[in-house]
């Protein structure tokens, strides 16, 4: 209850400050849209030169991309703590966080949230609907619930990976270029993993399980039955990774060195 009250307080404060800088907010939403468009352009240009990507059609690939945008939007709104090292470790803001009686990660998520990213969900669903209509997909009454479960699972995969990366800062405060590259690697989960060789498929499934944010859960909605096992593993992997990341974070907090040493 306490956490929910704090959450809503933060959200209302966030809205207030954001609405005072409306132009910035608009710019951010525009740049998000642009980002989403770029990837779509990539898919469209590629399919200008080929019909199938190892057996997957243009519309199926577009559908996967649309699905991917939804968990990614949730991740972007709440867990996008790529500047954790700079902001909290190097500048010592972590000191302040640790003197408050709420879990440190929860506080940081609230301070760093960017709710405008949630617009990406709309784009994502629109893309899915467009592709789904062209593919003549049928929807059962329980599909929306499965969709929600898959989306949460996917968002947790992303969240888990980025929380783990942020936790590295507790051990080593040197800047790393891992995080920007991680956004690129995240993109590969949007393509059918059977195009990759075993090593990369293994990495995308078990080490950096980005495949659970795109192709695996989408396979369920696209009716690709040979992938159903992976599809239904999505929430399991999501929760597993997320809890693992919180565990690593908690260990990391005890290793925190403080700023200015």
């Amino acid at each position: 209850m306490k956490h929910a009250a704090i959450f809503f307080h933060y959200v209302s404060q966030y809205m207030k400050t954001r609405l005072t800088y409306r132009v910035d907010m608009l710019m951010e939403i525009m740049s998000d849209l642009l980002f989403q468009a770029v990837n779509l352009v990539f898919i469209l240009v590629v399919f200008g030169h080929t019909q199938f990507l190892s057996g997957w059609s243009r519309d199926e690939i577009i559908f996967i991309y649309g699905f991917f945008l939804v968990p990614f939007a949730i991740f972007g709104a709440f867990f996008n703590i790529w500047d954790f090292n700079e902001r909290y470790i190097v500048k010592g803001e972590m000191d302040r966080i640790l003197t408050r009686p709420v879990h440190s990660l929860f506080q940081i998520i609230l301070e760093r949230m960017e709710l405008e990213s949630l617009f990406g969900m709309i784009t994502g669903i629109a893309v899915m609907v467009y592709a789904g209509m062209r593919l003549d997909l049928s929807i059962s009454w329980y599909d929306p619930f499965i969709f929600i479960l898959m989306v949460i699972g996917g968002a947790f995969v992303y969240a888990g990976i980025f929380v783990m990366l942020a936790s590295i800062s507790f051990w080593s405060d040197s800047r790393t270029s891992i995080i920007p590259m991680m956004y690129n690697i995240g993109n590969y989960g949007r393509y059918p993993v059977d195009i990759y060789n075993k090593v990369i498929r293994f990495i995308l499934t078990w080490i950096l399980p980005f495949a659970f944010v795109g192709v695996y859960p989408s396979a369920y909605f696209l009716g690709r039955e040979d992938w159903y096992v992976y599809a239904f593993l999505t929430p399991v992997v999501g929760f597993g990774f997320f809890f693992l990341s919180i565990f690593i974070w908690n260990v990391g907090v005890t290793k925190y060195r403080g700023a200015g040493n």
């Binding site: 009250a5 000191d95 302040r96 003197t99 009686p101 403080g258």
Partner: protein, 340 residues
């Protein structure tokens, strides 16, 4: 429970890597680095009773902030035990921090873009403070700190003094029995300092709040603290009454003479024969300072002899300031880890 803070053999080591000099050294660092262990705090022990106001002093790098951070649960100790408010700070961090208040002078606890009041509301939720408690306690705090008119302004629009008073109020919002203040008066003007000091005295009397204060401004400590803990190179070199520190180390006065004409040390020295005193030249022209023991007959004797021998335009008698005492202690060093 009488002891609010119990610290035993507390130690904090940091691993630090030194980089080799130059481009060649940097290349070697790429593959193999030199590590060394630096102890920021070396096995310190002390206790603080409820209601005490303790000054925690030391030069930069003496281990002050590292030990404060261990007491507040921010850092995990390498070794030793810390019990604060009956809890182990880093083990039960979230429960523990509800029982303390912390002000970092150089770091804001408030949210930059939003009104002070909104920050308070948020903290009220964070600390689970009921409406009644908040009303009863904060009305008083807001009044005494005189921040009522600031509440609807965003933090970024406040002056440093205004902000600091709000920070203090924020730290006391949940009425903690223990308050940590790290450089709370840094960069503030005298009036604000006085206001803050009076306020701290007041809550100490009213709620028996224990206060641990670190500062570079020793006048804060003189005004507030009976007891000081002094750190140097990670060790406690003095723990006791401020008054004792003064009587052991500050036992003396300085008499400043302004001579009408130029004098030399050779002329002045004979005047001090068989008296426990010494001359030092001041930076100003024709001004000399006699350092003497704090005994009436010596002081009058010195003045009498000097006035008889030379023409004087001005005389001042100074007590040695705490700051000088502390500077002396650091300059003269520490014998066996203790000074007495």
């Amino acid at each position: 429970m009488d002891q609010v803070i119990q610290v035993k053999d507390l130690r904090k080591d940091f691993k630090s890597h030194s980089s080799r000099p130059g481009l060649k050294g940097a290349f070697r660092d790429l593959f193999n680095r030199n590590y060394s262990i630096i102890s920021a705090v070396k096995d310190i022990s002390f206790e603080v009773k409820q209601g005490e106001m303790v000054g925690y002093i030391g030069e930069n790098g003496a281990g002050k902030s590292t030990s404060i951070k261990m007491l507040t649960g921010i850092l995990t100790p390498t070794d030793g035990t810390v019990t604060v408010n009956g809890m182990n700070p880093h083990k039960e961090r979230e429960k523990f921090v509800s029982s303390i208040g912390v002000v970092f002078g150089q770091r804001s606890q408030l949210w930059w873009d939003i009104a002070v009041q909104e920050s308070f509301k948020l903290l009220k939720k964070v600390y689970n403070v009921s409406d009644e408690d908040y009303e009863a306690h904060m009305t008083h705090v807001i009044d005494s700190l005189d921040i009522g008119p600031l509440l609807d302004k965003p933090v970024r629009k406040l002056s440093l003094g205004q902000r600091m008073r709000c920070e203090l109020a924020a730290a006391l919002l949940h009425n903690p029995p223990l308050l940590f203040l790290d450089e709370p008066t840094i960069g503030l003007d005298v009036l604000v300092k006085l206001k803050i000091r009076n306020f701290l005295k007041e809550i100490n009397e009213k709620y028996k709040t224990t206060i641990l204060l670190t500062t570079h401004d020793l006048t804060d400590i003189e005004a507030l603290c009976e007891r000081v803990i002094m750190l140097d190179e990670g060790q406690i070199i003095y723990d006791g009454k401020l008054a004792n520190l003064r009587s052991n180390w500050g036992e003396g006065k300085q008499i400043e003479f302004q001579f009408a004409e130029e004098v030399t040390k050779d002329e002045l020295s004979p005047l001090m024969k068989e008296l426990d005193a010494e001359w030092t030249a001041s930076e100003r022209k024709n001004v000399w300072v006699a350092n003497v023991v704090n005994e009436e007959h010596v002081i009058s004797e010195v003045i009498g002899r000097v006035v008889a021998a030379h023409r004087i335009t001005d005389v001042k008698i100074h007590e040695i300031s705490t700051e000088e005492i502390i500077r002396n202690i650091y300059e003269e060093g520490v014998v066996d880890g203790k000074i007495y």
